[in-house]
């Protein structure tokens, strides 16, 4: 685990993490990489800090209501009591101090876990270019010269640097167990560094609604040992179509629930051309029946 735990508060969170994963969660609280771990630690820490005042506050509210119920003759009625400087000072101080403390967590966490920041590691990062399409994901491996649709294969225990854009509308690139999501936006490139510590199969998805085919914008993430990754890249390079201009134009059309497949070659500079919109954005819906006034009845490409 390259990212050293610096802050003392993070340590508490780390201690609670295994306890939470015992209760059977498979999502963001069961991270499979350093970024996810640090995100989750901050989430748990912030939750713990706030629960420390939230639980007493709720109990105080219920106790107060019950203690001073009208039928309780033991509690003294103070019909005019409505001010106490000391209580005022305390009730302003409690949330202020809590938020100051939390503000520190926000500050440190935001810098430490900036998505654009590369991961510290001895292993050089693997480059992956991600394009969100209607409604599937394209992963381009520039070094290997291959590409894959709806399947992301990454070498385990190696940092992966993603450059992310969209060919049409907003989406979010998110692998819950690896941590940090980031928007895929047309005309812009977001950067994100993630790492899967161990080999395994994870779930990836789009976390921003992008239209009718959105629900099937999930993708499989396969974290494999580096040797196996090289083998996969080689075999992907051995067969399948080539992602040239025409193939990309066909791919960019709306389609849903696309099964994973690979391209054996990628036209050079394709990602940059998409991100800078040298290639026109995805075409949007192509109505099957134009006579339906005002209603987009057709969902392009549904099988």
């Amino acid at each position: 685990m390259p990212a050293k735990v610096r802050n003392r508060t993070f340590r508490f969170g780390l201690a609670t993490l295994p306890a939470l994963s015992l209760c059977g969660c498979s999502g963001v609280l069961d991270p499979a990489g350093p970024v996810g771990k640090d995100d989750a630690t901050i989430l748990i820490d912030a939750l713990a800090i706030m629960l420390a005042i939230v639980i007493p506050t709720i109990l105080l509210a219920f106790w107060m209501a019950w203690r001073y119920r009208a039928s309780n003759s033991k509690a003294r009625y103070r019909p005019y009591w409505s001010y106490s400087g000391r209580i005022e000072a305390v009730v302003w101080a409690i949330p202020t101090l809590t938020i100051m403390f939390l503000g520190g967590v926000i500050w440190i966490g935001s810098y430490k876990l900036d998505p654009f920041r590369p991961l510290a590691s001895k292993t050089p990062a693997e480059e992956v270019q991600v394009v969100a399409l209607d409604w599937k994901w394209l992963f381009i491996y520039p070094k290997e010269g291959v590409a894959s649709v709806n399947q992301l294969v990454v070498p385990a225990a190696t940092p992966v640097h993603f450059s992310i854009t969209s060919a049409s509308v907003f989406n979010i690139f998110f692998v819950p167990r690896l941590g940090t999501m980031i928007y895929a936006m047309p005309g812009m490139v977001s950067q994100l560094s993630l790492q899967a510590d161990r080999p395994g199969t994870l779930l990836g998805q789009s976390s921003h609604f992008s239209g009718d085919g959105f629900s099937d914008m999930g993708f499989q993430v396969k974290s494999v040992p580096p040797v196996q990754f090289a083998a996969w890249a080689q075999s992907a390079g051995g067969g399948g179509p080539v992602l040239d201009g025409a193939a990309y134009a066909a791919l960019a059309r709306q389609s849903q629930n696309v099964k994973p497949f690979t391209y054996r070659g990628v036209a050079p500079g394709l990602f940059l051309a998409i991100a800078t919109q040298k290639i026109a954005p995805g075409p949007g819906p192509e109505p099957q029946n134009a006579s339906h006034a005002g209603r987009e009845v057709a969902s392009g490409g549904r099988r």
Partner: protein, 670 residues
């Protein structure tokens, strides 16, 4: 001739919207037929449609809000059941329909359920609490209401003619641009929200002016009830941010209608600009909703504890603090767009700083109960349920304000659970508390407490059973707006959540039953004195229901809790203050201009949606003509004769004297 409109706009091929709209049309025709058969039109026209009475307008706002709440709730039932049925399956709603439902749910709940109910409460209560007879601009108030109703009508027309937006309640471009949403759905959204937004902006102007300029003698700012302060804060926010919404949606309309490029993918458009602008409105909007709810809770905690509000000045400060800071936090809705750590830190801290103001309020409500005599009536139950629910919702909100935590749960079911946690637990609970609390002031009888309590328990238990699983699903990585689900592990929690919706349905039924039972038993629930809860602010100085002129003689306020002082004096002397000299009262005359304008605004909106340009122009000209005619009117107001004022007030005084007599005989007086 008819633009894009033709017969194929009617969804003959889609049974669900077709049958729903047929049933709705039949119900509407039935109601209209009943009104005609019973000859109620003149009464409706005179007393309701053309009224400029703030109480009547407030009641109509609340009625609109409740009807739309039910419409939005049926969308919610469909969404929860679709997700529960569509795990490794298609479910019963295809994407093109499901996407409209979640978009309509959000739009309707925020713009046409929560907003009208909040504004309805502001309308009904604020002038009464300020001790005045109406708002600053009574006719404009009527225009505001009818424009809001016009927007609601347009949204519901989309069910039957064409389609609604399939882009979510905030139509993020480029998805909402014509390239990706060529249908009329987004246009329905745009024009419905634009028209009602104009109404809301006028409400904001109206209430800022009312609170600043229309207080009764002696009602200085620091003597105003908390609800008036929150009305002022919410109205200031409306005036500050609704123009942003109008401008943003206008830019999107220009993109869609005339091929401009504010937010498009191509030709230099910048979709992120839309996201910034819409949230610069959108985040203050949630405080526009919740601040008046805070005001309601302040009234309820104080009244039902039999004590003044603890730390009143500190509450005022906290309200204004929230009002200002709420405009500086919008970026937390898109930490995940990669703004960089400095920006994320600044907005993260600004967001959590709001929790200081809210936290102070929570503690002050708790200490209001200290040393009190707490009565667990229905409004108080909602308020205690609010503290429990809202504190947890606030906590998850601050969690989402921590950027690295947001990186994990942004746009997830966790987020869905969070904002329902604060909007249902804060705004809706507050509105239900307010409905029960002020209902007798509006209609002269109380709501049935037993059914009210049943509603509360089903609502709060149902709420948690519905939304606690969604928090969990969010942590499991489930994103929102999924039409079908490909992950088996999410099945159990989706079922639990659907079960929670079932409990909420029972809650809604209880509420309907409560209303029916209360109307049937109105004689035994009658509020004779006008002060059913032992209240502390001026609305309880009037009889129930309050006369249209509110106060026979404007009260003279000599301290905080204006009515409590008057009441104490009466109890000490065992008599009311001597009868005042009654004078004729000048009241604003009814005006059909609101209804007229809104009718033509609907025509304009509809024809813009379908691009029937000649009709749009005609509608605009007619609406404008209505204003011109109104501006040239000769009769502005009418006089209520002193005799009539005296008659109404003497009846009130007699009821109060009788109550003092009764209390004295019981030995309840000092």
């Amino acid at each position: 001739m008819f633009g894009k409109l033709n017969w194929s706009a009617i969804p003959i091929d889609q049974p669900i919207p077709l049958i729903t709209s047929m049933v709705l049309i039949l119900i509407i025709l039935g109601v209209l037929g009943l009104i005609t058969a019973k000859g109620w039109w003149p009464y409706l026209w005179r007393e309701w449609i053309t009224t400029v009475d703030h109480k009547r307008i407030g009641i109509m706002y609340c009625l609109l809000g409740v009807v739309m709440l039910i419409r939005g709730f049926s969308d919610a039932i469909m969404m929860r059941s679709q997700q529960a049925l569509a795990i490794h399956a298609a479910g019963y709603l295809p994407p093109e329909h499901y996407d409209q439902i979640f978009s309509a749910h959000g739009t309707i709940m925020i713009f046409f359920a929560a907003m009208p109910m909040v504004i309805g409460m502001m309308n009904f209560v604020t002038p009464l609490q300020l001790g005045v007879r109406d708002v600053a601009f009574p006719t404009m108030n009527s225009v505001s209401f009818w424009l809001t109703a016009a927007g609601a009508l347009l949204v519901n027309m989309s069910l039957f003619i064409g389609e609604f937006a399939r882009t979510g309640w905030l139509p993020y471009p480029p998805l909402s641009e014509t390239a990706y949403s060529p249908g009329v759905g987004v246009d329905y959204y745009l024009w419905a929200v634009q028209i009602s937004g104009v109404g809301t902006l006028m409400t904001g102007i109206n209430f800022v002016t009312t609170v600043l300029k229309m207080r009764c003698p002696g009602m200085s700012y620091l003597r105003m009830p908390m609800f008036c302060w929150t009305t002022l804060a919410a109205s200031l926010l409306i005036v500050a941010v609704f123009p942003i919404l109008t401008a943003t949606l206008a830019m999107l309309s220009l993109d869609r209608f005339f091929g401009w490029h504010f937010f498009t993918n191509t030709a230099g458009g910048n979709p992120m600009m839309f996201v910034n602008l819409i949230w610069a409105w959108g985040h203050p909007e949630v405080y526009i909703l919740v601040l008046p709810a805070f005001g309601i809770f302040s009234e309820v905690f104080s009244t039902f504890s039999g004590k003044p509000l603890f730390g009143y000045r500190s509450m005022v400060a906290a309200t204004l603090f929230i009002c200002i800071v709420s405009m500086m936090v919008w970026l937390h809705h898109f930490f995940t767009m990669g703004s960089g750590p400095a920006v994320n830190t600044a907005f993260g801290i600004a967001t959590s700083v709001i929790a200081v103001g809210t936290g102070v309020k929570i503690y002050n409500w708790i200490f209001t109960m200290y040393g009190g005599r707490v009565r667990f009536s229905v409004p108080m139950l909602w308020s205690l349920g609010f503290i429990f629910t809202f504190v947890i919702g606030g906590m998850t909100g601050v969690l989402l304000a921590v950027p690295p935590a947001d990186f994990l749960v942004h746009n997830s079911m966790f987020l869905v659970a969070h904002f329902h946690n604060v909007i249902v637990g804060g705004v809706i609970f507050g509105l239900f508390a307010g409905l029960d609390y002020w209902f007798p002031k509006a209609f002269g009888f109380r709501l049935h407490q037993g059914w009210g309590k049943a509603t509360f328990w089903f609502a709060i238990v149902g709420f948690w059973v519905t939304f606690a699983p969604l928090y969990w699903l969010g942590l499991e990585g489930m994103t929102r707006r999924l039409q079908h689900i490909n992950v088996e592990a999410w099945r159990p929690m989706l079922y639990v959540s659907l079960f929670g919706v079932g409990l909420l349905v029972i809650g809604v039924i209880c509420q309907v039953v409560m209303l029916v039972v209360s109307i049937l038993r109105r004689d035994e629930l009658r509020d004779v004195t006008g002060d059913p809860w032992d209240g502390r602010s001026l609305e309880w100085a009037t009889p129930s229901p309050a006369p249209f002129f509110n106060f026979a003689v404007l009260p003279n306020v000599e301290g905080e809790e204006a009515y409590w002082g008057i009441k104490l004096r009466a109890i000490e002397t065992q008599h009311l203050s001597p009868e005042p000299k009654y004078e004729p009262i000048e009241m604003p005359a009814n005006s059909p201009v609101g209804f007229f304008t809104a009718f033509f605004a609907t025509v304009t909106g509809f024809s813009l949606i379908w691009q029937i340009w000649w009709l749009a122009a005609l509608g605009l000209v007619a609406a404008f003509a209505g204003f011109v005619v109104f501006a040239w009117r000769d009769v502005h107001d009418f006089h209520v004769p002193a005799d009539e004022v005296a008659r109404v007030d003497r009846a009130r005084r007699a009821a109060r004297e009788a109550e003092i007599e009764r209390l004295a005989q019981q030995g309840a007086l000092p």
